[in-house]
């Protein structure tokens, strides 16, 4: 039964892909790429995102690929932008649709990702993959923008934070492309920032600041993760406290 569903899904996806791709008037190699993507899509993504990226609105009772009773948003119109972001960060594929996707091991090879991206982009016209230029950005503008728009969730030093009830991930591991994509998509619970809200130039500054924030000026010494008072309190108690109590005990001991 499951196998039958899988085959059916694959066939349907392939059909849509093959018919949709040429209609966009892409060159032949691209279509072939998308075709390969369609196969991968049917195998790995369709149980949640539906046939040909139509989306599944609510948890279904039918168990699909990998026994996942999946549901997920439509991928039509999300473009190469979203596919590239979710696949390269390992956010997708997601085993349990109700769990927050986190940065994890990338399941697909770069070639496979390109194929899947081409396929998702071919579903409907959508935004492409951005090319940020952090070198053109201004560090101080970036910090301003970050504090005003991002620090509420990601914490002032981009060390990550809590949003009821999810994690705003620490931003250290993100490449400039990841950040640019996330800003334009607004993945999961994150708000979106479109061109009218945050220009490409501003985005460059933001990324410049985040690249800096990976290794900021820690002139004070050991950085303690840049999260402020919680680890500082631990050091006060566990380092200073333990050392000083130890010294008290030593001092109070009588010489033999």
């Amino acid at each position: 039964m499951r196998r039958a569903a899988l085959v059916l899904l694959a066939a349907a996806a392939l059909f849509v892909a093959l018919t949709a791709a040429p209609a966009r008037g892409d060159s032949t190699p691209r279509s072939a790429l998308a075709g390969r993507g369609a196969e991968l899509y049917a195998e790995n993504c369709s149980s949640c995102h539906g046939i040909a990226g139509a989306g599944i609105g609510a948890p279904s009772t039918v168990h699909g690929v990998g026994d996942v009773a999946g549901f997920g948003p439509s991928l039509r119109g999300v473009g190469a932008l979203a596919a590239d972001f979710y696949l390269r960060t390992g956010y997708m594929p997601l085993r349990n649709p109700s769990v927050q996707p986190r940065r994890s091991k990338v399941e697909f090879s770069p070639d496979q990702i390109r194929a899947l991206v081409a396929y998702v982009a071919s579903l409907a016209p959508g935004p492409g993959i951005p090319t940020p230029h952090p070198a053109r950005g201004s560090l101080s503008e970036g910090m301003s923008l970050f504090v005003q728009n991002c620090a509420g969730c990601h914490q002032a030093a981009a060390a990550g934070g809590y949003v009821p009830d999810a994690v705003a991930p620490p931003l250290g591991p993100n490449s400039p492309r990841d950040i640019a994509e996330a800003v334009r998509i607004g993945p999961n619970l994150m708000p979106r920032f479109s061109q009218s809200r945050l220009t490409d130039a501003q985005l460059d500054s933001l990324i410049a600041y985040l690249l800096y924030a990976r290794h900021p000026d820690d002139r004070g010494g050991v950085a303690l993760g840049h999260v402020g008072p919680v680890p500082e309190g631990l050091v006060a108690w566990l380092v200073a406290g333990v050392v000083l109590v130890g010294v008290c005990i030593t001092i109070a001991r009588r010489p033999a």
Partner: protein
């Protein structure tokens, strides 16, 4: 030479008898009697480093645009208070060392007082005739919390501003007088008028340090006048004090402790970064950072604020008691109230009105020990609840679930701790009893063998 100076001084002061008393003052030795000294020596570092910082800090809310050496802040609008703190941290040589040492010293100061207080409570050192010493010490702790909060707030970085907003919210929540008091302190709605910064500054660098120093002097005078308490055993008794005289024996040890405290604080100040304000950025009313936390010693309050279920007490459309009152004002009042009332409550229950110079071993007074442990576990739990968001980020434990668990635990755990502590005390004493019997039996056996 020294003899000559001593003679000259004595002729002009007649203070030699006091000096003699001081040099021959006896210190009973147990390591836990040194905890208060750690706090005292930390206070010296606080005054020293704080004075240095005050030479560079501008307590002003004038809006300026930053054009200093730290590029990410370039062109940003900020207050002069924040600008001058960034400047003294990054551009004044040794400024950062002093600032970080000052901050570490604040963290350690309160920690040392807290541990010292635990020792006093668990050993019954607060009993007659030393109640006053205890109340004075407790007041120092309360003032130290306020002093630390003001230091954290003066900088006007993003965390400062958020902390002040919360302080304002708590002040407003006081029944009857909250709004008036808050208006009085802030000079208007938060973030307050420019005068507010002058008020915080004079309080932080003059009023509170003066108050704390005076109370420390009274505390020490009372300690010296009544003499230290001591544990029993040997020749020590309620009437006879046994200890090391300041000279020749005790002073070198105490000074060694003082220099160790200095060493630890300056090593931390130089090697471990604390409150890197240039990374947080300046405060603006419309900005906030995730997981804003106070320094550890106010963590119990943020825990209480976060644990409190959402409700204001209202009558019709009128607010009567806003929510922050429970966690921010009532909870610390209960904690400090309990601590202040402890000696009288205990006296009422035990009927013990006798003077005490010998300390209790915690296991020997199981009721007090269990009550104190339960109380401590209650405060500690609420303290830990304040970092539930960090636990979510680190370990993925649902924040909401954690809060629910904490809400149950604050009622369940203290009785469990109470019962458990009673059992542990009993067990320890029973073991001692067994040990004593064994020794007696052995002695008897040995004596019998000798007789044979």
């Amino acid at each position: 030479m020294i003899r000559a100076i001593a003679r000259v001084l004595e002729e002009r002061t007649h203070a030699a008898p006091f000096g003699l008393k001081a040099l021959r003052y006896l210190f009973p030795d147990h390591w836990s009697f040194l905890l208060g000294e750690v706090a005292l020596y930390t206070f010296i570092v606080l005054v020293g480093t704080g004075t240095y910082l005050a030479l560079f800090f501008h307590p002003s809310t004038a809006q300026v645009v930053y054009h200093g050496s730290y590029a990410p802040l370039d062109g940003m609008q900020m207050t002069e208070a924040y600008r001058s703190t960034v400047h003294l941290s990054l551009d004044v040589r040794a400024g950062l060392l002093m600032r970080q040492t000052h901050h570490w010293a604040a963290d350690v100061f309160v920690a040392a007082i807290a541990v010292h207080l635990m020792r006093i409570v668990f050993t019954g050192a607060f009993r007659k005739p030393r109640e006053l010493t205890y109340y004075v010490g407790l007041t120092i702790l309360g003032l130290a919390l306020l002093e630390g909060y003001l230091g954290y707030s003066l900088v006007d970085d993003l965390l400062s501003g958020m902390g002040l907003a919360i302080g304002y919210g708590v002040a407003l929540s006081l029944p009857f007088i909250g709004a008036n008091v808050a208006q009085l302190i802030w000079g208007g709605p938060v973030p307050g008028t420019a005068d507010f910064w002058s008020r915080m500054y004079i309080t932080h660098v003059f009023l509170l340090p003066l108050a704390i120093a005076t109370l420390i002097a009274i505390h020490l005078a009372l300690v010296a006048s009544l003499h230290h308490t001591q544990f029993g055993g040997g020749r020590r008794s309620e009437r006879r004090l046994v200890g090391l005289p300041a000279l020749p024996s005790y002073a070198p040890r105490s000074l060694a402790l003082m220099f160790t405290v200095f060493a630890v604080l300056f090593l931390l100040g130089g090697l471990v970064q604390i409150n890197p304000i240039w990374l947080w950025g300046p405060y603006h009313v419309a900005d906030g950072t995730n997981g804003a936390q106070p320094d550890w010693y106010l963590g119990w309050l943020i825990g209480a604020l976060r644990l409190m279920p959402a409700f204001d007490v209202t009558i019709l459309d009128y607010t009567v008691i806003p929510n922050p009152f429970w966690g921010g004002a009532l909870f610390p009042s209960v904690v400090f109230g309990t601590l202040y009332a402890w000696p009288s409550i205990e006296r009422r229950f035990s009927g013990d009105r006798v003077r005490h110079n010998l300390l209790d071993r915690p296991r020997d007074v199981r009721w007090r020990t269990a009550t104190a442990a339960a109380f401590l576990s209650w405060v500690l739990l609420i303290f830990m609840a304040g970092s539930a968001d960090r636990a979510y980020i680190l370990f993925g434990w649902s924040y909401e679930t954690q809060l629910q668990i904490y809400r149950v635990l604050v009622f369940v755990l203290p009785p469990v701790v109470f019962w458990l502590t009673l059992k542990i005390c009993d067990e320890l004493r029973r073991n001692e009893e067994v040990e004593r019997h064994r020794h007696e039996a052995e002695d008897e056996a040995r004596a019998a063998a000798n007789r044979v």
